[in-house]
Symmetry: D2
């Protein structure tokens, strides 16, 4: 397929690379041009303007946040120039509110819009092992299924309304944050009783709590090492905010989400925003007077 | 070994049964005599008084809570009559404070005391697949290791101070409660956006959150069915209280624990105390105005 | 003084009326024209467009929320046409972020901007008993001081940076919300022990907690009557959101604010958004299984 | 009246002194004998054993906490020796559970029991300005009314069940704690926006929040000075725990109470347990990265 790709951060670049490997013709654009170079070397064509990405069979956008989506996709002239038969696949983690706004904007222009946020770190993206949450009109999702197959291990269909996929993504990130905070509190309790974080988490992640989330962030907490960041704490805060906003808009109180936001803010206030978001455990430990 | 066994609830009975199968000589006592009958049929000897259980190589107590331990183990004459070479293995989920008190009481009498709380439901107990958290003097733990081997899939050593095993058990239960609340909030958020609890949890428990906790309680939440209870909500509340008390005594704030306690109390106030503790999700859903 | 006045809700109308009584020449505008009629009868001149209000010595805006301010004050042509010597006094409860944005916008146009949010219900506004929190350049505040004197019992100066007044207003509303929730929890505890809300609050508001907040909202809770609303719960939720946003932007965790938001959302989800915000107590009582 | 008085801390001593001034015959006992000396100089008789205090018309107990009450009042022989016509007036802040236990114990012995906890600091006790919450059988309360009149500015009757007075006392202390935390969060928000704690609290305590609680603790927060303590933080924690226990026993979730407990624990963990409990504000400020 002829595919435009916008947003070449560590996730986007890995995903675009897998599309090239699968034989798709990629035209790529990124705000800063450097990340495109490797992809061009692998056969992609670099674009000068994001509008040019909306010309082929599909365009994938993998931008950092709501602001970036507004700045690039809703930039004057971008959607107006889009090919009518094209499918826009937005794979970024954005707010439910923006997803709903984008649905309306695309509908008005007769453009197909699919929301397809993913679960998976850059390593999983490189290995084409992402889990893709896909929502949008069935015909549109079907057309881009080959692209999903090239980037992910599985596509999870969530029906015709795109914003549902975003809600599931935010709910999942809320659960990740809750797992991290739970490990932070459990290890504070353990340490106060003479059990090291490593011993406690070794038992719990090998028995009740297997799986990537507990193991990845548990390893950081066990080691007490939060740099380099697998996922930056300030980005975790951004995602928790989005979950709380989605809850607020539909009158869903999320008390764990509220505690998470407060603790993440405390972490940022204490200078830990650029660390891994498992540094939440440090907030829990400091609060209990336990040394780092 | 010649083993006394006190406390034949669904967990205790399964554990005692596995000890008999492994060839140990069991002498059993329970407050109500019925549960002993099946074990007697399998070869155990029923006792008339708990003091008689403290006569052999080891005695295992698997009582319901702190009050039951006080009532049975600290009953006048019970520990005073204990054989000096015997090891008392307390496998119940009790408070850290009572564990520390029991250590002192045993020490004064020259009796060996091992704390060995377990992770695992009755089904795991029957299959001899418990995870056993063992803490106490090394010599004492070694002597009862054959008993652990007959009841569990693995023994996790936690050093010489018995209360540490209790702290880890309570920290683990706190993490279980947190996982349940997180699923409750995530599914409330999903439902408010048109995604069923079943769809959301199917994705999350097959990707980021595998393992027995998310799968067992997730299945209840997906089905919206909280009876019969795998683990009663009021017992979950009891364990969260114990974690909070252990935190309080060592000045460890546990904000997730506090939210859990408040939500569990709300559940009990609304008549859900005898349901499975995944009924926490119902609290989250009702709070958001979502119908059951 | 020649004063433009925009926003004639129950607060604005009372404030404008007091300015007329004090001898100022009022030119008034409101989105719906009816509220202007009484003021015209008292001597004000009704305007056809908000831009016309920005022509005299000062313009006071008393709009409902951020959106209304954006829609009216930032409407194309409004600020561009403003008289250069004029002082814009924004007395509405708006976000700190919008206050900062308005400061920059006015500065660019060489216009004086004073933030002057108020504490006081419509009754206090009618009696010219408002407490006015005023921040902005000293010269500008001095020029409009006669207007403040006509509307309030006291002006509290908060220095040259306008957004500080908004921060204090939001902090004050957070404290009001906290007082209401505290009464809700205290009366739930009392009722569960056989003490009526009326008895408990009679004691507490006549001893430790005198003052308008505890007395007004305490009276509603004592009576269990939340209609008609002195201050609508959904507006309380709006203000708590603004406090949380101001905290978020400066990395200030506000755990009471978070609890308030969650409980207010639960109230709205259960259909109480139009009731008085003391209906928060109902959330606390229902959560405890206490009947209304 | 012939009155026994047990517990001569700063509160008890001042109360006993006022009884002497009012012409009552006081017989006093305290664990450490020194505090009795001044009272003996004023006309009281010092006792050698608490049992001797239960001999006259009434005995007032003003002990530090549940443990002290158990240790002194429930000491073997104390209640057994009590005069049958006597009224025991327990004015300490104790748990609802202990109050209920004491009711049962007194009833079994045919002794009258009145709960009469107070609102007021030592200064108010010295000035005979306490607010007394009195609950117990009407005849018993009437008999000791002259004593209340000598110690307080007003007696608030709470009906025949003693524990109700304790519940109101705990609910009131919960509201005090909530007011302090609210000031801590509000001033953190203010400071982050350039408003000093002193300026913010000056406005709020002179407008919306008059009264002794906001003024006393607000003054400490404004000054950032938490020593010497008007009321020690660790005692505030004790009282919040008692409120939470009373809530727990009746299934009343108290989310503000939970936040308070967590923040008070954090304060103790950071070494502030002996400071005034307005040092809660320091927890709020530190959490936001604001320097002391």
């Amino acid at each position: 397929m002829d595919v435009g790709f916008i947003g070449l951060g560590s996730m986007g670049k890995a995903m675009a690379s897998n599309l090239i490997k699968a034989g798709h013709a990629l035209r790529v654009w990124n705000r800063s041009p450097e990340p495109a170079n490797d992809l061009v070397a692998a056969g992609a064509r670099a674009l000068n303007h994001p509008a040019e990405a909306f010309a082929g069979d599909a365009v994938i956008t993998m931008l950092a946040d709501d602001d970036a989506v507004r700045d690039v996709v809703l930039r004057e002239g971008v959607l107006d120039a889009a090919a009518k038969h094209m499918v826009h696949v937005n794979m970024a983690t954005i707010s439910v509110a923006l997803a709903q706004e984008l649905v309306a904007i695309h509908k008005k222009r007769g453009l197909a819009y699919v929301a397809a946020p993913v679960f998976g770190v850059p390593e999983a993206a490189r290995a084409a092992k992402l889990n893709i949450l896909a929502a949008g009109e069935e015909a549109a999702v079907s057309r881009v299924q080959p692209l999903f197959d090239a980037m992910g291990q599985k596509t999870w269909p969530l029906g015709p309304e795109p914003h549902r996929a975003n809600a599931v993504k935010l709910a999942g990130n809320l659960m990740i944050g809750a797992a991290v905070e739970a490990m932070g509190e459990a290890t504070a309790l353990g340490r106060a009783h003479g059990v090291s974080s490593a011993d406690l988490l070794d038992i719990l992640t090998k028995t009740l709590f297997p799986g990537p989330v507990y193991q990845r962030y548990g390893a950081s907490i066990a080691a007490g090492t939060y740099e380099p960041a697998a996922f930056k704490l300030r980005l975790g805060l951004k995602d928790v905010r989005l979950a709380l906003q989605a809850g607020d808009a539909t009158h869903v109180p999320l008390p764990f989400g509220s505690v998470l936001r407060d603790n993440l803010l405390a972490a940022v206030a204490q200078g830990d925003g650029e660390k891994d978001w498992s540094a939440l455990a440090d907030v829990a430990h400091r609060r209990a007077g336990l040394k780092g």
